[in-house]
Subunit: 304 residues, 4 copies
Amino acid sequence: MDIQQILEDIQAEVRPLLDQGRVASYIPELAVVPGDKFGMVVRTVDGASYAVGDAGERFSIQSISKIFTLTMAMQLAGDDLWKRVGREPSGNPFNSLVQLEYENGKPRNPFINAGALVVTDVILGHLDNATETVRDIVRGLCDKDDIDFDLAVAGSEQATGHRNKAMAYFLKSFNNLDNQPERVLDAYFHHCSLAMTCLELCEAVLFLANNGVAPLSGDLVMTGNQVKYVNSLLLTCGTYDAVGDFAYRVGLPAKSGVGGGIVAIMPGQFSACVWSPGLDASGNSLAGSKALELFTTKTGVSVF
Amino acid sequence: MDIQQILEDIQAEVRPLLDQGRVASYIPELAVVPGDKFGMVVRTVDGASYAVGDAGERFSIQSISKIFTLTMAMQLAGDDLWKRVGREPSGNPFNSLVQLEYENGKPRNPFINAGALVVTDVILGHLDNATETVRDIVRGLCDKDDIDFDLAVAGSEQATGHRNKAMAYFLKSFNNLDNQPERVLDAYFHHCSLAMTCLELCEAVLFLANNGVAPLSGDLVMTGNQVKYVNSLLLTCGTYDAVGDFAYRVGLPAKSGVGGGIVAIMPGQFSACVWSPGLDASGNSLAGSKALELFTTKTGVSVF
Amino acid sequence: MDIQQILEDIQAEVRPLLDQGRVASYIPELAVVPGDKFGMVVRTVDGASYAVGDAGERFSIQSISKIFTLTMAMQLAGDDLWKRVGREPSGNPFNSLVQLEYENGKPRNPFINAGALVVTDVILGHLDNATETVRDIVRGLCDKDDIDFDLAVAGSEQATGHRNKAMAYFLKSFNNLDNQPERVLDAYFHHCSLAMTCLELCEAVLFLANNGVAPLSGDLVMTGNQVKYVNSLLLTCGTYDAVGDFAYRVGLPAKSGVGGGIVAIMPGQFSACVWSPGLDASGNSLAGSKALELFTTKTGVSVF
Amino acid sequence: MDIQQILEDIQAEVRPLLDQGRVASYIPELAVVPGDKFGMVVRTVDGASYAVGDAGERFSIQSISKIFTLTMAMQLAGDDLWKRVGREPSGNPFNSLVQLEYENGKPRNPFINAGALVVTDVILGHLDNATETVRDIVRGLCDKDDIDFDLAVAGSEQATGHRNKAMAYFLKSFNNLDNQPERVLDAYFHHCSLAMTCLELCEAVLFLANNGVAPLSGDLVMTGNQVKYVNSLLLTCGTYDAVGDFAYRVGLPAKSGVGGGIVAIMPGQFSACVWSPGLDASGNSLAGSKALELFTTKTGVSVF
């Protein structure tokens, strides 16, 4: 298969969709990103990589950071993590508080906001310098020392993220945060503000397609069994309340962010990352979802 | 790998669990099945099959029948099906009416009871003899002419299935049933009452591991793309409100029934079926789930 | 105060509202009632009565019948009734199933449909001829032997009342119906179909303004304490999910029906009944609610 | 009727209940109040007052303060207030966030916490010195210049009121707070911390029984129509999710607080206040509710 050609075909096919999504507007810094950006990268475990479009431009990874914080929390807390956060799809919007109240403050999974706040709290309980450690691990995974937080984005979230603040205080009221809500929120907003390219994200998550081994360094990030766990969580919980539709159309474990990025994993074979800022009603990149759907359809490769 | 030996090891390991689940009691016919039954079969697309325990004993397939009715409805109605039923995990018990009310009578997916009632209604709208046709297709898939409904089970459901009746009338009140609720319920209860063995179920669903082709007959049951669709729905919606946990532990598309059966699919490789009547709190076979978890852990084979 | 003049002023004031409500359309027999009908009656405990408009025309009392069935069930079952139905406002539409599921089949109060079905089931458990007995008691209260069920209305409900059927089977699934759902529904639909005039309804409920004594017969229908109970339930639960707004504007215990009737009670002083078929979004008579609001505003008489 | 004797009888009858409720423990300052305190006062519009027990001891009025803030907001904002807060019973616990999410940030009524936060925000939008103004109005109503905030209680709420903070940020996320959440919370916690006696509270709310006129000063606090509005809101929304049961048993408009106080109004006749710190499951004073029930039963006086 000519992967490069397939990516170029996809790029042409999704072009009409680029202006149909809605760029996230609740953060001024995200709202100004041009809606016609599109980049896509496929990086195989064998060392090959294929790229089209704006694949080398950094964007706000937002919720994709939840992969890295979950990975760290699984290493730090082991199975105790699952006493504080569940492993089930929520069936509700990513920032809903309803289920949290019915289920006494235990978030459904680590990929909805409430779950990621608990995951962040777990990391803060183990590390003095948790915020920077997460960044440094990401730097190491893709061997890029200049990956960093976008402090303007993080600051905007601090100023306007009322719903996330409500969630953190709500978790605290159920005794499911050990640290002060403001401290957890600060770390969380920083992680979400990391700016990376499609190429960098593909490198950074490639261990999930490579049985836990980071290809660049040869380091074992997690065991093969843990990789199976993370990929299953990505497939059942990684794309907000559209997981079923996404699995149906794309058929790969994936995580999206409101910055318009999506990373996807084909175990044993490759990681992929697509970026297009316009979002669909569920908060996933509209053209990005389509691009991944086209990729698995054209190649016939999916976990199903 | 010595699959036969692995199955025998698993059989020994799960024995202590056999009396820890709860046999479904709301139907008298299910309640009398001995709780210590256990059977397991793996059937590869290459023609090999491995079996342990009570693999040749028929049991009530119950919700596993939803695979067959969904397959038929996809063939009969095409994409129109998705106007009447969704593709998202529900995050709620399989027989909940709450979500149905909030979402105006459109069930979340075809594998919760409300969704299966709509699927049944779709089939009834296309076929004069829908109830028997479903049975005959199952017979054909595993080449066993004596597979049949258990009329005592179907009759018990008619007499005691008040919640399913509530659901059917509720769907009707939202105009999401074309036929009379009593007619839909009758067909639905019949399909659930089909009695099959683990071996027969493995044969019957093997097309989902074989790119849509039924191995016994060589018939194309559905296209490869449709297989991807069904398998993704199984993975995200097939095991009630424990889909996340099941995907995490087992990592295979699967469908369970309150009769204690579970079928699972490894695309391109095999189908598996396990039966043990004792259920866990989510309504999935307790020992059956564990057996499948052990199988994917011991073999290292899962979609992730 | 010149009550007659006040009623005539009100009749003039609400005229512009008569075509702004929506006549209930789910039953064909209700849908054909002209939307410009308006009648209003005030009947004092001292024997005076004042009437305007279509006060002598019979209409379908629908949920107003819940007053009579509750009265009977309180007499027959005493405080045991409250084990099966609550006394709290529901905060949800009158035919919602959501709360019923969360609260395990115990309806919030006797004036939402689910609660009235349980009340009907209680009566059926005590009386052989419950359906007719309810009618006969109403006949006695207003001394009119020709008050009767409208069998066309009752039959329409049987044919189209899918949501009420869903509710009855749902209650049965929680073991909160002793009788078969179809039998309970039949009685319930009959009671709702009673046809009465504003004058007759004022007579029939006047005991609630008269310390429990039916003025016409002098019979003690219930004790003064029981009257307090029923009136408090009417005020907090009698007008669907608009009880707060209704209490705010009108300030009287009241019960509405989708036939467009509303009865209201001023303890110690009078009963009132208004009829206008056009309904507001909550299912209460639009002009009827306004007429009662004008009455308590003009007279300065309310329980507050 | 010998009111004093009736109060003394009630005091004797409720004594066995004093140790059966649970004193609110989430604020240390409330937790240390002895559970066997009991005071009760009835104050008529004619100038008579009757008192038993600890009627002269100050306690934390907590949610009873919502009467005073609502009164102010109605004066300041008029009917615009109802664009931001509803008038319906919630049917949910007083600090639930579920309904708030479903209803897009518009609280059901001014007496649940979310509603009171919005009411406080309204006052803050009109007055520079809102916190103190509320206190001064209360001082004026009962002519006691030393009524004041309990700063230890207010400080405790600031430190531990995570759920109220969650609610304030949630309201802000729906744009239903104009001021910063921290500022609204500070004012709200101060108002709740007011310490008053039963006698003082009876004076302070007596205008609600006196057609809007404050008996001590002769000032018109609100019009008779506004009094009807407030009393109807008290009856349908004043006692958390037990309004139906409270109206059934007591039959008076009333407002309770977690400090164990309850005030009740008999329009045209009297105000009553009871204090007993032990709470029932709904958060209302256990012995206090019983005392009011006994009072309306023994006197035969209620709005119904």
